[in-house]
């Protein structure tokens, strides 16, 4: 039986009259990457802040590696590493000094050199924080989150604003942590990131969980539908979508791109091509694919992940 790293029961938080998190319950298994998805204002950040120990829950219970807690305490934090979505370091400290400073907060820590190697900042060890690039700062933040060799790591939008190479570096570190049986809790705005890294996904909206499962299981939850995507110039996109009305249960137009969900791909293709021939409209960028997390998210929340 797989071990549970974190168990959350009926966790709740209000800000004034607004319910930010409404009786949330879930489990995170040891060695898994657990991803929380949700549009802005869904309650992800509040949930994470309660689990990271920044905010005190109004209600509910947290069980961390078998310890039951009303809130995250110092003992719990000894086993946790947190990469915050926002937050700076002292600009006039050197990289090595930052790591050493944070290492001093924990009972156990790994050598500074090892942390520097993990996040590939050896060459920058004497550089002041203020002189680092965005990607280097994020790697430093990740190094600081890993300085105590944590069993549970929180990664709150770890790659937002980073270039593709920097993103790939962070993914590699996450993959390495996963291989070392560390438990990770991730939030992200990048669907490819969630799909590539996650074992388990929860989708939140309005403070509640609305879907749960692995990325594949969630996508499969949309049924046997197939997605047909294509581009048509100008007003033709609208006309094409009307031509597909009869055989597609969900059609979305994004600029010149039409995204149609159908249970009968053959009929949809026939109707589309017949319409195209009849009207003399040229279709381009045609793709037939299975639903992904983005489609699940859209179907559940009515919004894209970045909205």
């Amino acid at each position: 039986m797989e071990q549970v790293a974190l168990k959350v029961q009926s966790l709740g938080k209000r800000y004034g009259g607004v319910v930010a998190v409404d009786s949330l319950s879930f489990e995170v298994l040891v060695g898994h990457v657990f991803t929380l998805l949700g549009p802005n204002g869904a309650g992800k950040t509040t949930t994470l802040e309660m689990l990271e120990g920044i905010r005190i829950p109004d209600k509910g219970e947290i069980e961390l590696f078998g310890r039951r807690l009303a809130r995250i305490d110092r003992v719990a934090k000894q086993r946790m590493g947190v990469l915050l979505q926002e937050g700076n370091f002292e600009p006039y400290l050197r990289v090595r000094e930052v790591i050493r400073l944070f290492a001093s907060f924990f009972d156990r820590s790994i050598p500074v050199e090892k942390v520097l190697a993990m996040v590939a900042l050896q060459e920058k060890e004497r550089a002041l924080v203020r002189s680092l690039s965005g990607g280097q700062r994020q790697r430093l933040a990740l190094g600081v989150a890993l300085v105590n060799d944590p069993d549970l790591v929180f990664l709150d939008e770890p790659t937002t604003g980073l270039d593709p190479q920097a993103r790939r570096n962070i993914w590699d570190i996450v993959t390495d942590l996963k291989q070392r049986e560390r438990t990770l809790i991730l939030t992200t705005h990048y669907m490819d990131e969630a799909e590539a890294l996650s074992d388990d996904v929860r989708i939140m909206d309005h403070g509640k969980l609305i879907a749960a499962g692995s990325p594949a299981a969630l996508a499969a939850g949309l049924g046997q539908e197939t997605i047909l995507e294509f581009s048509a110039a100008g007003a033709a996109a609208n006309e094409a979508s009307r031509a597909l009305d009869a055989c597609c249960h969900e059609i979305r137009i994004d600029g010149e791109t039409v995204i149609a969900h159908t249970m009968d791909l053959m009929q949809a293709m026939e109707q589309l091509l017949a319409w195209s021939k009849r009207k003399g409209v040229r279709l381009s960028n045609m793709v037939v694919r299975q639903p992904n997390l983005e489609d699940v998210f859209l179907s559940l929340t009515g919004r894209t992940l970045r909205e």
Binding site: Y15, E52, G53, I54, R74, V75, K77, Q78, M80, V82, L84, E86, G87, N88, F89, E90, Y92, L93, E97, R100, L101, F102, S104, F105, F106, D107, L128, A141, V144, F154
Partner: protein, 412 residues
């Protein structure tokens, strides 16, 4: 303990690496010490009215009364009520009192009483016209140009060396006596521009053997000012910037607690104050010739109380402001009255009642005087208990308000 020490070391390191902080913490107090010492040491000021007592140990004489003429000269310069012919346009230099006038008390006792007042800061100087003054002067006039000009006809001036107003008063008195002396020498045909002015100075400081200068008075004031600036501007700037920029938030997701952070922060702040004070004292002693010693247990304890008071003040400001800029604005508003109505750079004499109220509640008044008194620079008038209780009350009050109001994380 390593977490606390790390926070303290971080505080000191970043302060030394950040130019603005370094300027206000170190460069500005040193600069101020040099400037004030250069400007005010040994130069009289006509804009300050000094409280001066004139004690005449020479009875009035019929006929030529030389002592009476000197007395009249000081009355005229003082513009005091006893002057016979006060000149309306002449600026008043002294508030002159004549305690021996019409008194049957022996002059020695009157002088003792006046010296006590001088020690307490209620007088800035005492002029003593010694017995035999008339006879000596008459003799010199009679001898004409052949008189031995080196033989002094001396007027004693008692001052509280190290107290700025006392030093200013003594300078002006010296100039007045030198002018009278020159007129007499010209009248008797024995004028020698190189002759020494006929004034002897005596001091009434607790350390009778030490000659105190203005820089000795100034040095403790600049140290206190350095602590004031560090607390008032450094602490809220640091904490509010750290909170708003998310620096503190990174700490709160680790096992570091707010009390342990505060302990480390306080340690770092006190260490920085120690470095600052050491630099100021070193410059004062080795660069400007100060003789006051601040390295003694009582002075160090008072300096610790001073640093803690302004640290608490910093927390108070941080708790009242929403942003770092707001904190700086509050600090700027408080800085001027705290600094200039606390006797940091000059003794404060008669001020309007409204300002006196600020002085009475201003912890700087007590801390500056306390540091000076325990280091032997100033006798002082404030009771010891008040010097401990008023800053103590500010510390407790500030901490209580800060504990209730100060948010350690960004508001949501």
């Amino acid at each position: 303990m390593k977490d606390i020490l790390s926070i303290a070391v971080t505080y000191v390191l970043t302060a030394f690496r950040e130019r603005t902080t370094l300027f206000w913490f170190l460069v500005f107090p040193l600069f101020l010490l040099v400037i004030l010492t250069m400007v005010f040491s040994g130069i009289g000021s006509t804009s300050i009215v000094s409280d001066v007592a004139l004690v005449r140990d020479e009875p009035p004489q019929a006929g030529f009364d030389a002592a009476g003429l000197v007395e009249q000269a000081f009355r005229d310069l003082g513009g005091a009520g006893t002057s016979a012919t006060p000149e309306a346009e002449q600026p008043q230099l002294f508030a002159l009192s004549e305690p021996a006038l019409g008194s049957d008390e022996p002059v020695a006792e009157i002088l003792d009483t006046q010296r006590d007042l001088l020690r307490k800061g209620e007088l800035d100087a005492i002029i003593v016209i010694p017995a035999g003054f008339n006879a000596e002067l008459t003799e010199r006039i009679a001898a004409g140009p052949d008189a031995d000009q080196a033989a002094g006809i001396e007027i004693e001036v008692w001052v509280d060396a190290g107290r700025a107003t006392s030093e200013l008063a003594s300078d002006v008195i010296g100039q007045v006596v030198a002018t009278i002396d020159r007129e007499i020498r010209i009248a008797t045909g024995g004028y020698d521009p190189g002759a020494e002015p006929p004034v002897t100075y005596e001091t009434v400081s607790p350390d009778e053997g030490r000659e105190l200068k203005y820089v000795d008075f100034l040095l403790p004031g600049v140290v206190v000012m350095g602590f004031l600036t560090a607390g008032l501007f450094g602490v809220p700037g640091n904490i509010l910037y750290g909170r708003d920029q998310g620096l503190l938030r990174r700490y709160w997701v680790t096992p570091l607690s707010v009390p342990r952070y505060l302990f480390g922060y306080t340690l770092g702040h006190l260490a920085l104050c120690g470095i600052q004070a050491t630099a100021i004292v070193a410059l004062g002693k080795f660069g400007l010739g100060a003789t006051v010693s601040l390295v003694q247990p009582a002075t160090l304890l008072f300096l610790l109380l001073t640093a803690c008071t302004f640290l608490a003040f910093g927390f108070l400001i941080a708790s009242l402001a929403r942003t770092a800029n707001g904190g700086m604005a509050i600090a700027n508003i408080l800085n001027m009255p705290l600094m200039f109505l606390g006797g940091l750079f000059f003794s404060i004499g008669d001020v309007p009642i409204a300002l006196r109220v600020i002085m009475l509640v201003n912890p700087v008044t007590y801390l500056a005087e306390g540091v000076r008194r325990v280091s032997g620079v100033e006798a002082g008038t404030v009771p010891w208990l008040a010097m401990l209780l008023v800053p103590g009350a500010w510390i407790v009050g500030s901490i209580l308000i800060a504990a209730k109001r100060l948010s350690w994380d960004v508001e949501r």
